[in-house]
């Protein structure tokens, strides 16, 4: 290590590269980080896993995203029989279109003009990862987890999602062995759209229930 920098960090305004000090985030070897490193190195040393297998598993996890969930939703919009299956048995509906059943039972809740569903895990961060990928940071935040269950309409409006007073809000607290997917409402004017086109309208946030599916009409957003 060296203290010689090609620019310095005095806060006197005299340097062209002035920026606030900020500690690196990767320099804290917490208890669980140390345990993870120790277990991983042991598994590699004993020949049970290779470093490349670990890397590939992380890469696979990072590659999962909401596109799978969007396929499920688009199919349900396009095919009433499939929607019925999806609402009755989410895992079977995944398998029916070539998606993994997933490690948990999938409960699908349908948004209508009378009911809006939204998902939270107040205890931790339970999330249908095989359909949506890793949960966003806000989903894991204490703020979202505590407030979504207690003042959902206020939290939804902070996401820009206004729910009319006469629409029932159903919060689903994912506390145990179920995982939840919201089936958003199909935007008007998409009757002739293909499943691939429909899937483009289905965002991660719409499937968590903090937003609506994208509205493709020219009036949208006004």
């Amino acid at each position: 290590m060296t203290d010689h920098h090609d620019h310095h960090h005095d806060d006197d305004g005299s340097t062209p590269h002035r920026h606030p000090r900020r500690p690196d985030l990767d320099d804290t070897l917490t208890y669980f980080r140390a345990m993870e490193v120790a277990v991983r190195e042991l598994l590699i040393e004993k020949g049970i896993l290779t470093a490349d297998e670990v890397r590939r598993a992380v890469e696979d996890m990072d590659r999962r995203g909401p596109a799978q969930g969007a396929r499920v939703v688009a199919r349900a919009w396009a095919d009433a029989g499939y929607k019925e299956l999806l609402l009755a048995d989410g895992g079977a509906a995944c398998v029916a279109i070539g998606i993994d059943r997933g490690p948990y039972k999938l409960v699908v809740v349908e948004n209508t003009d009378k009911v809006h569903n939204v998902v939270v895990c107040t205890l931790c961060s339970c999330y249908p990862r095989w359909l949506l990928g890793l949960p966003p940071d806000w989903y894991k935040s204490r703020n979202y987890r505590s407030r979504m269950v207690n003042e959902p309409r206020a939290v939804l409006s902070e996401f820009g999602t206004r729910i009319a007073d006469d629409v029932i809000v159903r919060v689903h607290d994912s506390t145990a062995d179920m995982r939840y997917l919201v089936l958003p409402r199909r935007p008007a004017g998409t009757e002739a759209w293909s499943e691939d086109q429909l899937a483009e309208l289905v965002t991660r946030d719409a499937m968590v229930g903090v937003a609506f599916a994208n509205d493709p009409s020219p009036k949208a957003g006004k």
């Binding site: 039972k105 107040t122 309409r153 629409v167 809000v169 159903r170 506390t175 145990a176 179920m178």
Partner: protein, 100 residues
């Protein structure tokens, strides 16, 4: 392998239930905010290893029936000011439920 021990389901959809008020030490998946609240079983979810045992690397047996229980928000949060029909559904294991 020893046979799996499971508790038989004691509730079904539509049953009126109350969440037990208890504060045991350890890993519990019944949120504090819902203890002591009245709800209605929305559906039976299946029978799963007891998380209060699994968390300590024990067998999770006897396995516990799991339910989704629906609560009226105004009965959970007295100051709730949304639609009186707004609900929160929570997954709760049978060992936390009483008939009411």
């Amino acid at each position: 392998m020893a046979p799996t021990e499971s508790i038989a389901p004691g509730f079904q959809a539509g049953d009126a239930v109350m969440v037990r008020i208890a504060y045991p030490i350890g890993h519990v998946r019944t949120p504090h905010y819902i203890r002591g609240k009245p709800g209605v079983v929305e559906r039976f979810c299946g029978i799963y290893g007891n998380p209060e045992e699994l968390a300590y690397a024990r067998s999770g047996q006897p396995r516990q029936p799991l339910y989704r229980v629906r609560f009226i928000q105004r009965e959970v949060w007295p100051a709730y000011d949304g639609n009186p029909s707004d609900t929160v559904d929570v997954e709760i294991f049978q060992n936390w439920l009483e008939a009411r």
